[in-house]
């Protein structure tokens, strides 16, 4: 092993082995960028998203390949993670799972975007596409890096791309406003997180989490206030990114302002990346002292579940409603990590990782599907309130049933992926004997019935405000997205073993 300040030559083959998906995406992004530059103004750039999807699929495939690499490495028994630059960047199944999620999520977002471009010709297709790809790269870096600097760069790559994407509808005041809000709050959050990182660096003297963790344990007693402060500052900074209460207020506005596909991207990919970052940082950097700090995670998780759901109760704007719903989901997603404070064994960590990733996959399907339906319905109705969904059952049964499935899944009704995901997370709370937290998880879900069923009520119980013979035209790309969401939500709800078996065989941290 090389010393931290020693000279390490990175061979391309090594880099390719570890970073193939990232490299592919960056290359893809630059390819589109270059094409965009060299194509003349008149030529159509409409195929950019399709190209982007191709690259995402390639990255997806490379990620799948990486699972094999990790398992080979484990079978080889060296006990060493595949890594670059002295544990700066690692290849393990934790990262791989998230990368699958990111690439799949972004691919779906781009699929939805095809329709969006048709409706909004002023949006620059090529820029949009490669910003998406770069943002995904940033998310991947967040999932795989073990170094504070790299994590930070990845985070900013994702964030800055997102700011631009949100504000991209240039003639749209709300879009710019959403971007501005996201940017201001996001930058403050970055500063907070960085401030925390600086303290962590101050105590450990290095930016690497894997090595720093040892120092954290040694120094814990002497530097408890400072390290706790560092932990909290980072938590707050990351918390803003995944919109934990009370750091969530930007998200309804931003979600509302952003174009639908971008909202979906923020809700799924960006949020998942945030959780990857949180898990990576806290499970590596603070694993030794987690018993002393988990309580803050518990507090935030509980607060997020309660406030997220309660705030959504009175919401009539469907996009804002989904924003609050995604706030609440962040609370659920934080639980697996939070309960680890009482988890005694390493198995608890595997359980927590399984829970988070399962829920994120479920969340991916249902959220993507819901946003696809929402795009169609709100466009047809011309507004984004619940009224737009009135009598949808009569106008478009397929849309209504799909939306019902997505909404029920978010509410945690059985036979949907959302339920299994919630149940899985719930197991962790009971396993660590934090019964009240598990109870709160489902109790807040029960409160959430009120607004989720409000959507169902609008679709099935009420008569349409508009003429019922206005059949809704659903574009192919959105149909595909909805279908994927529907199949995923139901398949994972009825046969969760499809994913469970896979999760069970993973070498999360390359062990």
């Amino acid at each position: 092993m090389n010393g931290i300040n020693g000279v390490t030559q990175l061979a391309f083959s090594d880099v390719w082995r570890v970073m193939a998906p990232e490299i592919l995406l960056v290359l893809g992004g630059f390819l589109i960028l270059v094409l965009d530059l060299f194509m003349n103004k008149e030529s159509s750039r409409r195929l950019s998203p399709q190209l982007g999807i191709l690259f995402l699929i390639a990255a997806f495939v490379m990620t799948i390949r990486n699972f094999g690499l990790v398992s080979d490495q484990t079978a080889g028994g060296t006990g060493e993670l595949l890594n670059l630059s002295n544990m700066l960047y690692v290849l393990d199944d934790f990262g791989n799972v998230f990368k699958l999620l990111f690439t799949a999520g972004t691919a779906l977002v781009l699929l939805m975007s095809i329709d969006f471009f048709k409706q909004n010709p002023e949006v620059k297709v090529a820029e949009y596409t490669y910003l998406m790809l770069f943002a995904t790269t940033g998310a991947m870096v967040m999932a795989s890096s073990l170094d504070l600097i790299t994590l930070f760069v990845g985070l900013e790559l994702l964030s800055i791309s997102s700011y631009v994407l949100v504000a991209m509808r240039r003639n749209h005041a709300k879009s710019a406003e959403g971007g501005m809000k996201y940017l201001v709050i996001g930058s403050i959050a970055s500063a907070m997180a960085l401030y925390g990182m600086s303290f962590l660096y101050g105590v450990t003297g290095q930016t690497n989490l894997a090595y720093g963790a040892q120092t954290v344990i040694q120094m814990w007693l002497q530097f408890k206030p400072l390290l706790t402060l560092a932990f909290l500052l980072m938590l707050i900074g990351f918390g803003v990114k995944v919109s934990l209460v009370p750091f969530h207020q930007w998200s309804p506005d931003t979600y509302e302002g952003a174009p639908n596909p971008v909202t979906a991207f923020l809700a799924v990919v960006s949020k998942a990346a945030g959780f990857a970052l949180i898990l990576r940082t806290f499970l590596w950097g603070f694993s030794g002292v987690f018993g002393d700090v988990y309580i803050y995670l518990v507090i935030l998780a509980a607060l997020t579940m309660v406030v997220g759901n309660v705030a959504a109760l009175s919401q009539k704007n469907i996009k804002r409603l989904l924003a609050y719903s995604s706030v609440a989901q962040a609370g659920y997603l934080l639980l697996p990590l939070a309960v680890l404070g009482k988890g005694k064994s390493i198995d608890n960590i595997w359980l927590a990782l399984g829970q988070t990733s399962f829920y994120l996959v479920a969340y991916l399907f249902m959220t993507m599907g819901a946003f696809a339906v929402l795009t169609v319905v709100t466009r047809q109705a011309g507004n984004e309130t619940l009224e737009a969904f009135r009598g949808l059952w009569k106008r478009a049964p397929f849309l209504a049933v799909s939306m019902a499935v997505f909404v029920l899944s978010m509410a945690g009704m059985p036979l949907t992926a959302g339920f299994i995901g919630k149940f899985y997370i719930f197991l962790g709370t009971i396993n660590t004997e934090m019964y009240w937290l598990g109870g709160l998880l489902f109790a807040t879900s029960a409160i959430a019935f009120y607004y989720y069923f409000g959507v169902l009520k609008a679709m099935f119980l009420k008569d349409s405000a508009v003429q019922s013979h206005d059949k809704i035209q659903v574009p192919v790309s959105l149909t595909v997205t909805i279908a994927i969401g529907l199949i995923g939500t139901l398949a994972l709800g009825i046969f969760p073993d499809l994913l469970m078996k896979f999760l069970n065989g993973l070498h999360w941290f390359g062990q």
């Binding site: 501005m180 809000k181 201001v184 709050i185 403050i188 959050a189 907070m192 007693l221 002497q222 530097f223 408890k224 206030p225 706790t228 402060l229 909290l232 500052l233 707050i236 803003v240 209460v245 009370p246 750091f247 207020q249 930007w250 309804p252 506005d253 803050y296 507090i299 935030l300 406030v307 309660v310 705030a311 959504a312 109760l313 009175s314 919401q315 409160i447």
Partner: protein, 634 residues
């Protein structure tokens, strides 16, 4: 023969089912035929069994498995003892006659068949009650007869009074029934069985599987609880109020159910379970006192009532009081004997009253009757026989049985009860003859037209009257010194004496007769010869007493004020609480959450700097709390 006793209740049950299948449009003749034949068959079998029992004594119970509860088995079945053999005979006999009588009385009613269905169901239930070998079965049929009473009292459902009376009958008896319910459940808990034999053994040994009460107290408790059941059914004070109201039902019903059979069930129960009561002197005392109070109390009310059926009804209450009092002083034989004789003459009185009512177009107020002797001579005669029997004039049936009760009360040393009994006897004689004189003598005081059309009913109504009259005359002799107290020997089954038996005291018999005659005499003076003006008395110095009696001592009003209203008010208050407090809290939570939601919604004011500030304050609180918890490096 005894093993075939199950046939007796089966006949009316089959009749009931047949009528039910035939439906409400069945012809009156067929309906009557089926019913009467069934009852008659039952009567014949009863007679055979009676003679069998007379010859061979009581049988062991015949039981079959009904329900398994863990290791225990609950069974159903039947048994025949002298007591219930007697009851079976009486019930089937009177039933047959009443069924016959009803053909005339109910003729032309749209729900004729339904009436017979109910009656058959009642007869079945009553017989089932009588032959029960265990307390659970008794309770089951106990409730069923109550149901039939309810159905029959409310037979004319469109009359609000009938509906109210039916409901009242059911609810008031149910209050008593709950006592019985608790009683038998406690017996089961303590002894592990409902069977009479098992229960009696346990009570004799005073060994109970219960630890929260001493055996002696437990016996008293159970005995009183069971007696409460009897009080409800046998209309003992203070649960007597339903019986007079129940006269809203058709008169045959009053005769059968509310005079002869069902109301005697309470007495029968106490008699059947007498070993339980005998084991507790305290309970017996209570029973005696209740009986005595009921006897005099109802008799006093009876003095002033104007509804012919109500007078007879109060007399029923009063006579039931006698029987209960007799049980209270352990005069077991006297009580059961009076039960039997009373069944005959009271059924007779009711049917005769029914005949009168039927004749004058369902008018029941004696103030608008009079001089009917000429129009209804047979009815008049039979009513007179019944009245004499009720008054206790020798040699009619009532004389012998009432005399024995008075004797028992006297010999038990409880002089108060004895005196009460005597006074009640005087009142009884007075009011029943008041009715007689006002109905059958003098001038008719109602509409002329009605009087003109009044005539004796057909044979279906008169034959029962005659047969019952005969019984009312001769039944008393069964337990007279003239027959060497044959009834007593029979009822004891040739074995040990149950309760206490005393030799006849002739002076007492004389005294009782004199008292009864005095009552009749006073009645004659007031209502026949008019030498004493009843109105002057009522409005004169006795006015308060008159009012009390006329208004039934305001018991109903008292109940209404003291029980019904408060309970309804409690209901309203609880309903209010349910709506505004229990549900209100729920709504408060709901509304509160929603208001919280609105608050959270409107805190979202669109200002990015507010969001930042909230983030900052949240962060500060979290960090501050954390730093407080960490508390620095020690």
């Amino acid at each position: 023969m005894v093993q075939n006793a199950w046939l007796i209740p089966l006949f009316p049950l089959v009749a009931y089912l047949l009528l039910f299948v035939l439906g409400r449009r069945a012809q009156e003749g067929i309906v009557t035929a089926i019913s009467v034949l069934a009852a008659l068959a039952g009567f014949i079998v009863s007679l055979l069994i009676l003679s069998d029992v007379h010859a061979n004594g009581a049988s062991a119970p015949y039981v079959f498995h009904w329900l398994t509860v863990g290791q225990n088995t609950l069974s159903m079945g039947f048994e025949v003892t002298p007591l219930n053999a007697m009851m079976l005979t009486v019930v089937t006999f009177i039933s047959t006659l009443v069924l016959l009588f009803s053909k005339g009385y109910l003729h032309g009613d749209a729900r004729y068949s339904v009436f017979y269905q109910y009656l058959n169901l009642f007869i079945f239930s009553m017989l089932g009650l009588v032959i029960s070998p265990n307390l659970l079965q008794v309770y089951i049929f106990w409730e069923l007869v109550g149901l039939c009473s309810f159905l029959l009292v409310g037979f004319w459902y469109f009359k609000p009074e009938a509906a109210a009376a039916a409901k009242k009958a059911f609810i008031v008896t149910r209050i008593g029934d709950v006592g019985l319910f608790i009683g038998i459940v406690l017996i089961y808990v303590a002894t592990g069985t409902f069977e009479y034999s098992g229960v009696f053994e346990a009570f004799e040994a005073k060994k109970f599987a219960i630890d929260w009460i001493t055996p002696d107290h437990f016996i008293t408790l159970v005995a009183i609880l069971m007696f409460i059941g009897a009080m409800g059914k046998s209309a003992q004070f203070p649960l007597h109020t339903w019986l007079p109201d129940a006269m809203e039902g058709p008169t045959p019903v009053s005769a059968l159910i509310h005079a002869a059979t069902m109301v005697a069930a309470g007495v029968y129960l106490v008699a059947r379970a007498f070993p339980i009561f005998e084991a507790s002197p305290d309970a017996l005392t209570v029973i005696g006192i209740i009986g005595g109070i009921t006897a005099i109390f109802a008799a006093l009310i009876g003095l002033t009532q104007n509804d012919i059926k109500r007078v007879v009804a109060y007399s029923t209450v009063s006579q039931l009081g006698y029987m209960v009092m007799a049980l209270g002083v352990s005069a077991y034989a006297a009580s059961t004997f009076h039960l039997m004789t009373h069944a005959f003459f009271k059924a007779l009185l009711f049917l005769a009253a029914g005949s009168v009512i039927h004749a004058i177009h369902h008018n029941q107020d004696i103030r608008f009757m009079g001089g009917l002797w000429k129009k209804l001579p047979l009815t008049g005669w039979t009513f007179l026989i019944g009245a004499l029997a009720l008054s206790g004039i020798p040699p009619f049936a009532g004389f012998w049985s009432k005399d024995e009760i008075l004797l028992g009360a006297l010999k038990s040393g409880n002089t108060t009860l004895f005196v009460l009994g005597l006074i009640a006897a005087f009142c009884t004689a007075f009011y029943i003859f008041r009715v007689f004189f006002m109905t059958f003598t003098g001038e008719f005081r109602g509409e002329k037209e009605v009087y003109e059309h009044a005539h004796e009913s057909g044979s279906v109504m008169t034959i029962p009257l005659v047969l019952l009259s005969i019984m009312a005359i001769v039944a008393g002799l069964l337990n007279s010194p003239l027959t060497d107290h044959a009834f007593e020997h029979f009822i004891f089954g040739g074995g040990e004496e149950i309760g206490k038996v005393y030799d006849t005291e002739w002076w007492l018999a004389g005294l009782a007769t004199v008292v009864a005659l005095a009552g009749i005499g006073l009645s004659y003076l007031m209502y026949k010869s008019k030498s004493i003006n009843p109105e002057a008395l009522a409005n004169g110095p006795l006015r308060p007493f008159y009012q009390l009696s006329l208004n039934k001592f305001y018991v109903d009003e008292l109940y209404h004020v003291a029980i019904v209203k408060p309970v309804v008010w409690i209901g309203h208050i609880l309903n209010f609480i349910d709506k505004w407090v229990v549900d209100g809290i729920v709504h408060l939570f709901g509304e509160g959450t929603y208001i919280g939601s609105l608050g959270l919604k409107y805190s979202q004011n669109g200002q990015v700097q507010t969001y930042g500030l909230v983030t900052l304050i949240g962060a500060l609180l979290l960090i501050g709390a954390a730093m407080y918890a960490v508390g620095g490096v020690k």
